[in-house]
Symmetry: C2
Subunit: 439 residues, 2 copies
């Protein structure tokens, strides 16, 4: 203790919100969760602390550097850095008792000790959804994932967005066809960067990997195919690439686009984009990214894809899956940065503040009870003070209605209801008040 | 990696639930949160990782031993072990911009590296609620806390419970009156143990602290006061103890009991109990414990109290508060252990499973969309398989309705709705189906 002043600010890279910001954050979080549940997904809540050997079984250099790892007693422990590895462990551990297809969502904090910088967080929320099955998983699940992303961002209604999709099989089959099967990983990493480095730099780097002008031109051709979704598919088919995986990838994209209509998704919101690759190498089919059309600087706000085997590190059985993850903390931060958190959309947390001006609180408490029974979030102001101070409190807290109770109200069994927006107040009975508050 | 098999079970002391258990857990968690919000409380979500100096500023030996502490870069970090210390830091940091009274709730994981044993968790949820004000805080807030506890356990409806209350001022004033002001802490610690050790052992230990027969008898007298709440208050008053704090404590308890009626709390659920002390020494007034009458072995499931100054370690200003904490993970574990998780009360997460027997999924997807628009959680079974297998899946998942779609249904624009409880099925239109599912 001593006299040294303790720093009370949160650590750098750790988001901490004021009450009104928290309400806006939770509106997003709750919307995501509601839609996950609406599609029949089950919540799973795995521990934040895991065995280091579990988390680091597959992780590469960056993850090992960033992970929060420590010993406690004899245990080598780490904080989870995503929700996918814990899901894999969970499915491996409980697959005998789980029902498949296993549709799970998880919303929780994950930890990465990244170099602190604007928009990067060391502790942040992820909101994940995955569908896992044994041995096979119907491609319609891949469409459902799009439908869920679509519903979420339509409901949140921040700005026009596009769900970009691709299929790993197309580029993989294509590169195999070109005889570049050993360079697939390097080339995909390069394609992933094309938005940042541009076509010229891309070509320059590509030449280092593959010193064949004709093949380079072919790669540039496929990456730069233009047109709407159908036109792109048609252009790909016209390339006459004799490779099964290539054709399978196109067929899957085509089916996804066809079924998107059955899911009632507006076509304008889906873009088949051959330049989307995703960094993680475990994706094997469909991949997703979601961008805000007018704020591409934010990057993808919801990404994921299809993987052949979730649990390969832990079991011999095969569990294919498809899923996406929303980086909630970063999304919120970026929405704020870009002025997209419209205040009007903030759900009012408290609807009514009751202030008692004369007499004891018993009448006021009875009113509070009746309002709460009507699912109206109600706060009673118990502290001393003038009416003005109490109204000011309601104002700052964005509480839309104040109920004022004095001797007259108690005597007549009525209440005075003040609308904080237009500052008008009327003396009414509780039934009327409930109607007005609900309306 | 290598061939060594990785352990996929969660670590000892870390709760991990299967989907149906998770639903039961979330029902409790959501009920608590709903009631907190209904009373006008705001959610605050502080980081899990804090500076060690913040968490350990006041902590004693046990906490220091149990805390998860580690270095990352130059930072000496720890995982939070409760939600109260972070609240104190939060109020100290933001008190200039917060509105007071500040009514906050927090539900989140905390970490304590306790010796693993049955019913003890190293990672567990706490659900806290606190009301903080500047300088003064009305005693009615103490009653509101009781009302919230009452509403929560009445709504959860597990078993008859009792909220035990006491006031620190009574015993403190009493011991001061006896001239034992320097022994207060030791005697309170002893009183806290009286349920475990019994009256005889208690007296024996008390003699070690205070070698005055008359005073010991007085202490035994006050601890063993019997009767209902009013009788206890009356007995205390009759002791004629000339000490202001003693009298203030009794007055506060009396006011709390009086106002409990205004909050519409059934008297039977509140017991004024002089033997309740609570371990933590920062409580200065009201203290609470909540027990299940027929399962006292579980111990207190909701505890807390009033404290004079939340932020004394971080600021010079005075922030009195009152609050309680529910140890959710332990509560859930004990409810399960004692067979109190009634399956009937488990909210069905998914209401409808749609299975498609013939034709494509487009008709099925349209039905799913309509159900979801009616807030009906709906899952579509996309995988291949016979009807029996799909019904079995619905059965195991506790899904109450299955919609079956075949060629006839598509042709006639109808659906076949199967009630999984009575195994009856009818072919109806979507409107009828929605009515049946909602009813």
């Amino acid at each position: 203790m001593g006299d040294k002043k303790i720093i009370t600010a949160p650590l750098q890279g750790f988001m901490e919100l004021l009450p009104n910001e928290q309400i806006a954050f939770d509106r997003i979080k709750n919307t995501i969760e509601e839609i996950y549940v609406r599609y029949g997904f089950l919540k799973i809540d795995t521990p934040i602390i895991e065995r280091s050997e579990v988390l680091l079984a597959k992780a590469g250099g960056e993850t090992e550097k960033q992970i929060y790892r420590f010993n406690k007693g004899d245990n080598d422990l780490s904080l989870r850095f995503d929700l996918t590895v814990p899901l894999a462990r969970y499915v491996a551990e409980y697959n005998k008792v789980l029902e498949f297809p296993f549709r799970r969502y998880a919303i929780g904090k994950v930890f990465r000790g990244e170099r602190p910088q604007r928009g990067r967080f060391r502790e942040f929320y992820q909101a994940d959804i995955d569908i896992i099955n044994k041995d096979n998983l119907n491609i319609l699940n891949d469409v459902e994932i799009i439908s869920i992303i679509y519903d979420i961002f339509k409901t949140l209604d921040f700005t026009k967005f596009t769900i970009r999709i691709n299929n790993r099989k197309i580029l993989k089959g294509f590169l195999e066809y070109l005889g570049l099967e050993k360079k697939i990983k390097d080339i995909l990493i390069l394609i992933d960067k094309i938005d940042k480095i541009g076509n010229k730099e891309f070509t320059y780097e590509l030449e280092k990997i593959c010193n064949d002008r004709e093949k380079i031109d072919k790669i540039l051709e496929i990456i730069n195919i233009k047109g709407n979704n159908e036109q792109k598919i048609s252009s790909l088919r016209k390339m006459n690439i004799d490779n099964n995986e290539f054709i399978e990838g196109i067929n899957e994209i085509e089916k996804i686009l066809e079924y998107s209509k059955a899911f009632n998704i507006d076509e304008e919101y889906i873009s088949f984009d051959l330049s989307i690759v995703r960094g993680l190498d475990y994706y094997t089919g469909t991949i997703y990214e979601t961008i805000f059309d007018d704020y591409t600087n934010i990057g993808s706000v919801c990404s994921g894809g299809r993987y052949d085997n979730l649990t390969s590190l832990y079991t011999k059985e095969s569990f294919p899956g498809v899923g996406v993850s929303i980086g909630l903390t970063r999304l919120f931060d970026q929405l704020k940065e870009n002025g997209l958190l419209d205040k009007k959309k903030i759900v009012k947390d408290v609807r009514v503040l009751i202030v008692n001006m004369r007499g004891d609180f018993k009448y006021a408490l009875n009113i509070a009870k009746k309002l709460r029974e009507e699912n109206i979030n109600t706060e009673v102001y118990f502290e001393d003070g003038k009416l003005g101070k109490k109204l000011e409190y309601a104002n700052k807290r964005n509480i839309p209605f104040v109920i004022i109770i004095g001797e007259d109200e108690i005597k007549n069994g009525l209440i005075t209801l003040r609308d904080m927006n237009n500052k008008k107040q009327n003396t009414v009975d509780i039934k009327e008040a409930i109607e007005i508050i609900h309306s």
